[in-house]
Amino acid sequence: MSRDDLIQKLIELASKRFGKPASEMKAGDDFFQTLGIDSYQAMELMTDLEDALDVEIPDYELQGVTTFDKLADVIETRL
């Protein structure tokens, strides 16, 4: 999976979970602000990502990660 494909996949999963059109989200968007999500919803998104991509994402690696491209950086190391 290329990096662009991965970022697109992350955006699609976030779109599916929170109902915001994927076309309105970009790689550099702060997903907490864009999606207006809280801690519980962030955890739900993380669980979705782990399921869909068959990876484990330790939460401590997500400290400070707020954009889709940074999230892709974390996940790429585990694919």
Binding site: F32, I37, D38, S39, Y40, A42, M43, E44, T47, E50, D51, E56, P58, D59, Y60, L62, Q63
Partner: protein
């Protein structure tokens, strides 16, 4: 509806509390003949007032037997909580063969003094036979999850209040109160752990800290796919204090225990299932339904067989539990904990639950 007084508050029972009952043999002699009361009953029986004598002795036995003869008190259930209960942190009712406990306090069933008082009431009911239930199911009707752990805001406020008192007295009172809380929660969790019936945690969302420890007391964890388990205590400068480490060690290998404990990271239900922590992995929103099926199946077996199988396969790690408790109590007084709690309470992080 009737009110039912708990240690720290008043809950409401949907049905009246059970009447006083006296457990005793069905034969006319309700106390042993060897006792003075028993001999008195036998004399009355011989003189032809059998029915009245039996009633009188049965009524008096629980109160007078021990006083007259120094014998153990008969099994009198004067303080058994109601079968159906609606409290501030939880409610429970008997459904079929299962006693179902709904954790229902927002934001996410944090365990503070209110929840503990109601858990103690539940533990009393379980110790008294769980109203004949063959299974006990814990679940949450709160969206965010099963239970996010100890009530850190309450703990922070308690520590602040004692800090205001200052000096040695304040520190001693803090230590005394925290030990009291921890002793009580251990007593309750040990009761659930050793209950001679099948206990099931039906989980979703956050199962963190004390919530994870509650789930670990259960025989079977049925987790829906949204569940995440974590011990974030190290973030607070603490170790889990409700028996989490020994109970987790009982169920899974050290690689998992140390990973979860020392990184504070959360693991998904899928991962927890893979490592043997979760018994049944189910779709989102399906955990309670599956837990009820587990309870139905458990109820088909002979109760004594179930109790013996459980006692054999799930011994209580008493020594380790005691050591964990001591370690927690040593650490709670640390300034690191006070600072971490203050940071948590004052945080405006959108992810305050995440380690």
């Amino acid at each position: 509806m009737t009110e039912h007084v708990t240690q720290n508050g008043v809950g409401t029972s949907a049905t009246a509390a059970p009447e006083r009952t006296v457990a005793g043999p069905a034969t006319p002699n309700v106390v042993p003949l060897s006792t003075r009361l028993g001999a008195w009953q036998a004399r009355l029986l011989r003189t032809g007032v059998a029915k009245r004598a039996t009633r009188l002795v049965r009524d008096l036995a629980p109160f007078a037997g021990a006083l007259l003869d120094g014998a153990p008190r008969p099994a009198v259930r004067l303080d058994v909580p109601p079968t159906d209960f609606i409290g501030r942190a939880m409610r429970w009712s008997l459904r079929g063969d299962a006693l179902e406990v709904d954790l229902c306090r927002t934001p996410c069933n944090e365990i503070g003094t209110t929840a503990l008082a109601e858990l103690e009431l539940l533990a009393t009911l379980v110790r008294a036979g769980a109203v004949g239930a063959r299974a006990l199911i814990f679940y949450s009707s709160v969206d965010r999850g099963f239970c996010a752990g100890a009530d850190l805001r309450e703990l922070h406020e308690g520590l602040l209040a004692r800090a205001d008192e200052g000096g040695l007295l304040g520190r001693l009172r803090t230590a005394h109160e925290v030990r009291g809380f921890i002793d009580r929660i251990h007593a309750v969790f040990d009761t659930f752990d050793m209950a001679p019936i099948t206990t099931i945690a039906a989980t979703h969302g956050f199962v963190f800290g004390g919530g994870f420890e509650l789930a670990l007391t259960c025989d079977v964890i049925v987790a829906d796919k949204s569940t995440r388990f974590a011990f974030p205590e190290l973030r607070l400068g603490l170790v889990p204090g409700f028996g989490g480490i020994p109970r987790l060690r009982r169920d899974v290998g050290n690689a998992v225990v140390r990973d979860v404990l020392l990184t504070g990271r959360s693991i998904s239900a899928k991962r927890a299932h893979e490592v043997g922590l979760v018994s049944q992995l189910v779709g989102r929103g399906k955990a309670l339904g599956v837990a009820r099926k587990v309870a139905e199946q458990a109820a088909r077996f002979d109760p004594e067989t179930t109790a013996r199988a459980k006692a054999f396969s799930k011994p209580l790690p008493r020594a380790e539990l005691a050591r964990e408790k001591d370690l927690f109590l040593e650490m709670i007084a640390s300034p690191v904990v006070a600072a971490a709690l203050r940071k948590f309470v004052e945080s405006d992080d959108v992810r305050p639950y995440l380690p």
